[in-house]
């Protein structure tokens, strides 16, 4: 029987039960509180202590971690930033179709990410920018953005003609959210859109749309990838380099917003 990784969950918010439940389904993991060798946490200090103790750590909300702590985690080689948005089942299907050549060359990535949230839209934007850089496999060569209260829009241009348009809104009415991702390639297109995944409830107030939830399968995918990475001896530091790239793009969006100008992209753009 193959070795199972002893995993602890130390997450300070409402995600903890879902993460624990999803980790418990993994054949590679044994969820425990003591004598663990791997950890999932959303606290940079806890993560740094754990890697110092030679544990592997999956670090949630990596874009929110200050630079100095990010550097420490990167240099440990044992901490993996959790790029949660990549692991949504619908997003994974689109990426697999792209990587499998079904869609041809990337042409246009369009994302609407609308939430009811106290977060600044620019913070939510980072995860979506990560998707853009991930899908195109490069940083943008041109960055433009505009911002309004509770709202930000990023418009990216990539070498070879590719483009991405992303908008994030945080002022949806209570408990509402909407996500739409479409990728137009030279040979095909993929549409991962909440609009296509709504069921109907007929109630006293008239029909209501009910989103067919992807539940917590994204967490399961993410934890599974973490476990496989540990078993395969994967180099986790590259994940932090991707975080730096995305944060630089986010800075460029802010610079474009502040200046009202198009910003030239970074080193690989």
């Amino acid at each position: 029987m193959s070795r199972r990784i002893r995993l602890a969950i130390d997450v300070s918010d409402q995600r903890a039960p879902a993460l624990t439940a999803m980790a418990a389904r993994s054949r590679s993991l044994q969820v425990c509180e003591q004598a663990f060798t791997a950890l999932v946490t959303d606290q940079a200090g806890v993560a740094i202590e754990a890697v110092a103790d030679n544990k592997h750590v999956l670090v949630l909300d990596p874009f929110a971690i200050p630079r100095m702590e990010r550097d420490q985690l990167e240099s440990s080689g044992r901490a993996l930033p959790a790029l949660t948005a990549r692991f949504q089942p619908s997003t994974q299907q689109v990426k697999q179709a792209l990587d499998g050549g079904k869609l041809g060359e990337q042409g246009l990535l369009r994302i609407h990410c609308w939430q009811s949230s106290l977060m600044a839209p620019s913070d939510s934007l980072q995860c979506q920018l990560d998707l853009a850089v991930w899908f195109f496999g490069q940083r943008p060569s041109e960055v433009y953005g505009c911002q309004r209260p509770g709202y930000v829009q990023a418009h990216l241009g990539f070498r070879g003609g590719g483009m991405a348009l992303i908008d994030v809104d945080t002022r949806m009415p209570d408990a509402n959210s909407y996500h739409s991702l479409s990728l137009i390639g030279s040979r095909g297109a993929a549409y991962a859109d909440d609009d296509r995944n709504m069921n109907l409830l007929f109630a006293d107030d008239g029909p209501l749309a009910l989103r067919a939830s992807q539940r917590n399968v994204g967490f399961a995918n993410m934890i599974d990838a973490f476990a496989k990475g540990i078993i395969a001896g994967q180099e986790f530091a590259t994940g932090w380099q991707q975080i730096e790239s995305v944060l630089e793009v986010a800075d460029q969006v802010h610079a474009a917003v502040a200046s009202g100008r198009v910003i030239a992209g970074g080193r690989d753009g």
């Binding site: 246009l108 369009r110 418009h155 003609g161 002022r171 137009i184 297109a189 609009d195 198009v262």
Partner: protein, 374 residues
């Protein structure tokens, strides 16, 4: 109740599809009286004019002025090559005819200005063909107008047509000559994939950009677009590559009163969508949001042996053409503007022009707005 005036309609060139002429002909207040064009047009233009004339059993002339004198039209329907739209419309307006113009209004902003000047001087009504009366758009308009989403904050539209346009990009041999734009459009007429009929090549922004921008015009109450940033590329089709025009474009828009928005426009190819294409509107307001699929309502039909080229979903209850013609008739009756008049069409042309400029410059570009009668 007094009987409403019936309008005599002259078809002034019909080299594109005959959808406007057909829509006008089917309206109870309009009669097609003749087809006319300029004598110096090539044979294929006259052949298409004659086909329509024969179908409706009306005369076909090669002299516009003669048609005006002989058949006393009230209205001209202009569906020529794109670069002739404005010139023909100006001739018609100068003769006192109300005009319906196919899209795009023009490929040149100066021509649009000349047309708007003429129309405003002559006092005729004008309508630029659009899709603003599709059921889904009427629903969106109602939701915005009744305050369901509050004040508008952002408005976005994806407008992807899943038509092909000749050989795929990169599919031709190194010794193949560049594809001639007009020749391809003429040949593509039979299967309906002639997307930009004109002598000068036109990208998708020029050909289809009017539709999403007309949505914005209607939903925003005619707010002007002030600045644009655009990315444009030829991503799918060799004809677009060879002729240096876009088949995929994204535009960020900054409008009056802080409203922002964007459009994505693409001729994404038949393989990329099971039906006519993904056409969606996303609207954010201070009180809520709207996601509107332009295709709805639709019915899906699947069957054994179904041709690959047949759409699986069919739009139903589409009264767009009837309502556009009705709107035009009302405008003539009342002197009120149509849902998309020449001035609004001119401003859309200015947005498209600025977007193409931005796509080339890589910079934010100002839109030349014409907001009031000069």
């Amino acid at each position: 109740m007094a009987e409403q005036k019936r309008f005599r309609a002259l078809v002034l060139s019909v080299v594109k599809h005959a959808y406007i002429a057909d829509a006008v002909a089917s309206h109870p207040r309009f009669d097609l009286v003749a087809v006319a064009d300029q004598a110096d047009q090539p044979d294929w233009v006259h052949e298409r004019n004659l086909q329509l004339a024969n179908r409706y059993e009306i005369p076909c002339l090669k002299d516009f002025q003669q048609a005006v004198v002989q058949y006393h039209p009230d209205v001209a329907i202009i569906s020529s090559q794109a670069e002739r739209h404005c010139d023909l419309a100006i001739r018609a307006a100068e003769s006192g005819l109300h005009i319906i113009v196919d899209k795009p209004l023009s490929t040149r902003l100066a021509e649009c200005d000349r047309l708007v000047d003429t129309i405003e001087r002559s006092g005729v009504r004008s309508l630029v063909w659009n899709r603003n009366f599709l059921p889904a758009l009427l629903q969106a308009r109602q939701a915005v107008d009744n305050g369901a989403v509050g004040d508008l904050r952002a408005i976005h539209c994806d407008f992807y047509f899943s038509k092909d346009a000749g050989p795929a990009k990169g599919s031709r041999g190194p010794d193949d000559p560049p594809i001639d734009w007009l020749q391809r459009q003429i040949e593509a007429h039979a299967d309906g994939s002639d997307g930009g009929v004109g002598i000068a090549p036109m990208g998708e922004l020029q050909v289809e950009g009017i539709y999403p921008l007309a949505f914005f015009h209607m939903l925003s109450g005619g707010r002007n677009v002030q600045n644009v940033f655009a990315r444009t590329t030829a991503h799918f089709h060799q004809a677009h590559v060879d002729n240096g025009v876009d088949d995929l474009a994204t535009v960020s828009l900054e409008m009056q009163d802080g409203l922002v928005g964007s459009i994505c426009v693409g001729r994404i190819g038949a393989a990329s969508h099971p039906d006519i294409g993904e056409i969606k509107l996303h609207v954010l307001g201070t009180k809520g949001a709207l996601v509107i699929s332009e295709a709805r309502p639709e019915v899906s039909i699947y069957y054994r042996g179904q041709p690959a080229t047949e759409f699986r979903s069919i739009r139903v209850a589409d009264e767009n053409n009837d309502l556009l013609v009705e709107d035009f008739a009302n405008a003539i009756d009342t002197g009120m503007p149509t849902i998309l008049d020449a001035r609004a069409g001119r401003n859309i042309c200015a947005i498209v022009e600025a977007s193409i400029r931005s796509g080339n410059s890589g910079q934010l570009e100002k839109v030349s707005v014409r907001s009031a009668r000069r």
